[in-house]
């Protein structure tokens, strides 16, 4: 019962945030609504017992990537873009997509209530070990080499970003 309430709450956050992200003219407002949407997705991860992904979603996506997004929005001048008429030539494509999704929705509405039933939450694997502990056990034994290679990947990202941005200063 409580899970269902939270599921609809997080779905509302995700979809509402996503709709407002594309609907607002101001790019900064769009980014802020995208944060709402990503927080909703984090909540859905939590409902699926993926606690580690929940933490990653909030720390990396909401905390890190969105800060980067906001800085990039402030780096480029979007005043001119906001005044323009947007997506004027793309409306037939949008109409096609809406028709397709609408058709799908009505098909499943026709099938009745069972088509909309939420899948039962998966059983908790081992009550003694949480999600993060299990990831740690696998990450530091079976996937040790990929873990160390990930640090090299991050090193490449550090060097690449500094080299690319330094040229422009």
């Amino acid at each position: 019962m409580l899970d269902t309430v939270f599921f609809y709450l997080f779905t509302l956050l995700t979809l509402g945030g996503a709709i407002l992200t594309v609907a607002t003219r101001n790019a900064v407002h769009s980014a802020l609504f995208l944060i709402t949407s990503l927080l909703g997705v984090a909540g859905l991860y939590l409902l699926l017992h993926a606690e580690f992904l929940f933490a990653v979603q909030i720390i990396v996506y909401v905390g890190g990537i969105m800060v980067l997004f906001l800085f990039v929005i402030m780096l480029v001048n979007l005043d001119a873009a906001a005044a323009q008429r947007q997506f004027s030539r793309m409306w037939p494509v949008a109409l096609g997509c809406v028709a397709l999704v609408g058709l799908e929705l009505f098909y499943f509405l026709g099938k009745g209530e069972p088509a909309f039933r939420i899948a039962a939450p998966p059983p908790v694997p081992e009550p003694t070990a949480g999600n993060t502990e299990r990831i740690a056990d696998v990450l530091f034994s079976q996937y040790l080499l990929p873990f160390e290679i990930a640090s090299l990947l991050l090193l490449v990202a550090v060097i690449g970003s500094v080299v690319m941005a330094k040229k422009r200063i």
Binding site: L46, F52, A55, V60, V76, G130, L144, S151, V162, A165
Partner: protein, 118 residues
Amino acid sequence: MPEGYVPLFIFLAVAILFPVVALILAKYIRPDVPSRVKLEAYECGIQTASDSRARYTVRFYIIAILFVIFDVEAIFLLPWAVRYQVLGWFGVAEVAVFLVVLAVGYVWAYKKGALEWI
């Protein structure tokens, strides 16, 4: 939903409701007689000079992208911190290798002056 997270959401609900209720309640209780002098910035504020949506320097971008990279690094440390007791010195050695590789990048960025403000 894992059981331990329900208090988190109660806390979140209280945190959101508290300012909302306080602001709405204050709006109806307080007397509201604005005048031009009262609405001016005073003591801790200066007059607005220009729009806040100006273009920023690219330095903010470097700082932000370095922040994201070290954020991802912190995420990799989280499972290690949770399983610290079990992994022992083996875990410490693994994470040390991981951190040394990233520290090389940090020192290089520092030497290049990517973190300098001027």
